[in-house]
Amino acid sequence: MRTSKGSKIAALAVGLSLIVAACGDDKDASSTTAGSETTAGSETTAGSDTTGGSETTAGEGGEAAMRITYDIAEEAVWDDGSPITADDFICTYDAVMNTVGSLSTVGYDQILSVAAGESEKQVVVEFKTVYAPYRGLFSGLVKKAAVADCNDISGDLQTEFTFSNRPYKLESWDETQAVFVPNENYWGEDKAVTPKVVFVPKADQETEIASLLASEVDFIYPQYSPETADAVAGDANVKVSIQFGGDYEGLYFQQQEGPFADPIFRQAFAQSIDIDSMMTQIYSPIVEGAEQLTCGPIVPGRYCDETTFQDTYDPEAAAALLEENGWAKDGSGMWAKDGEVPEIRWMINTGNTRREGAQAFLIPLMQAAGFNVVADNCEAECVFQQRLPSLDYDLGMYISTAPPDPQYLTSSFACDQIPTEENNFAGQNSQGWCNEEATDLLYKADATVDLDERAGYIKDAIKLMREDWVMIPTFQFPKSGVYRTDKVGGPVEDELNNYAAFINFHQWTDVDGDGQIVIGAEQWPGCLNPITECANSSWYVWTISFPLQMGVYDTTNDGDYKLTPLMASEPVVETL
């Protein structure tokens, strides 16, 4: 088949920073402790690089299947004035591929060679396979002159980030704050407006909101809740902006083992979940008129078929299905087969009161429907880094952040992405779902450059998810920015939906004239290195990587890619 090992890996590849913040980013790890950095970003990144020992290096033999030629803008320079050249592309590639503890080599491992073209300002990259998600590659450059050895930058960038090709550069960084000042040598039109931007860590949303109300921070980016709206309601100078982007929540059924390994039982269970009343009770208080997300594990847009997950609630059909297959309700009203009532362990991260509320609401309903659901929760770190990857749950509920490219579906749902002992529990298919047909469709999609054709494959794959009851999407979760209008102005609301979050903060204006904008960060990155695993939290990429490292493409607010000022022209893609 065409899903050779190589093309599978190819399909996995996404740009580093994309993966980094990608997928299962569940931002609300506020449960645990101050400063604890338990993002689910780590959850998924931990799994996304399943390439195992199949690392390839540039220059290894083989024929090129695709070639991309990048032309770097003549005026593009680093913050010290030195030009950005092909060397920096080569260094980035080397660093990603060869650094010990490199977060992910996905995508880059499909590259045969990176070399300078006709000039220092031209880069020619050759790929082993056709690689559709190429826009995610080289999304953040590593400056060659800033590191000792491009092949191992794990020792660099420990306490300071010494380069930038964005409007701001990092002046200082420690456990208590990160200070950005304008990069005087930035060549683009969109120069930094405010003399200073400061990020400060805030332990959880309550502290974040309290700080905002107390005018200590000017902007926060919390997971939206009705409490947020109530909290700021009394303050005329605080504005809340809600936008629906790539975040979606869903219920996931782990089907490798346990009660949901039985497809009949799984289907009956899924059909017994009263999604409508869940919308009323859990989601409509968040946003008035909340409607169920029916696309699947993807948000509305080109790749979404909104009919796929409609009308999942059908308790009569569920009961009939169970009875047909030898199930019967026992004395306590629970569905039993061969005298056994399966116990369904529902796992969420403790401390997320909204999810705890969802459990407290839904469990009695499910028990009334005859399913013995029990809450089996642990801390965010335990959920996302231990139990999800080891498939140690039956029913899961979490938010994922979808990057613009649907490639993440492959790493989350393909057969070979099921974490097993063989691949050291790497792989993000934490539902344990394996459907060969769907896997083929997903891989085919990743090797298809034509967008409509690609969308067709993806929609078909998602239909199979509904047929197999892999998950039930519940809600496209709003992203929200809350800010003080008396402190910060300008296009604050323009990029909130962006995968790169508040990437445009260099254009915000300092309304009160105190010379700085202060942004509250819900989780604080433990370190600065953009290549090693310390970069596996979304707050790392939002606060460090995106604001300092420009690459070929930026993500946009409407979930697409746009060329950055780094490029002189659109890269030329040739299929060979």
């Binding site: 604890s36 950095e37 799994g47 420990q158 704050q177 502290t207 770190e381 231990q386 433990g526």
Partner: protein, 329 residues
Amino acid sequence: MLRFIVRRLLWAIPTLFIVTFVVYCALRLATNPLASYARANPRIAKQPEKMAQYIEENGLWPGIGGYIRGYFVWLKGFVTGNWQVSIKGSRPVWPNLKDALINTLRLGLMASLVGISIGLALGIFAALKPGRLRDTAVNTGALIGFSIQPFISAVLLQLFFAVQWSKWFGEPLLPTSGMYPPGHTGFDPVLMLKYMILPVIVVSIQTIAAYSRYMRASLLDVLNSDYLRTARSKGISERRVLVKHALRNAMVPIVTLAALDVGAIVGGLIISEAIFEYPGMGMFFLTAEANGDFPELMPWMVIVTSSVILFNLLADLAYAWLDPRIRLD
């Protein structure tokens, strides 16, 4: 006296070794450093030879023998200044730990100073008229203080002085969190004090409650002792009795208790620090614990337990020195 001191000092050394060994075992069990490292560095985790190397370098062998050998590997690294680096990002531990320690000492000493002095004053105030209204008030107040957990008072203080205050008066009276305002760099004692007020109040509530009771009990005891009765019967004025004899003697146990409490400061005022996001030892511990970061937790525990042991020793010595009645055998 000298023999007593020497004996206690000699005791402290094996205690320190035993304690650090126990702490080592406890932390290895609690954090599972190898698994935490693998979780933080999944790509390295997939390379058996790299993991084997990590185990060798850091002495993370399994089994009882492995723990003992590992302890000595750790001890050697620790003593020679060759500390293990954090599991996440391989950063050196000491710079952050040092900052945390200094921040906590600032906050803790300030809180102790305020708390102990107010507590002592209240205790004396109560003990001078035992059984009267003031005594009952102080006593009851202390019990109420004990019953107000720091996390309750901290949340309420934040709500009142920062959030509500800014709703009423336009700007908050006191900051909700942090050590300095965002964007501030360098040392500024005035700002520092302003940011300390709320955490200090929270810690002080408990300290005041404790010390007012200690002082009251201790002073009452001294005032009722035979030798003071004698002094009084000799016609020495009550004021003189109080200042010259009673207070001095009553302070003896208080000083030793204070020494114990000061020793424990290093462990961080964990609850207040967490709620007020004060970057001290408590926050350091919570963050490291959440990451399962053994290389960060171990020096933390060593510093904290050493301080506890040291101040226990000082307390004993102070007691022996201050109270002539103790027998030094």
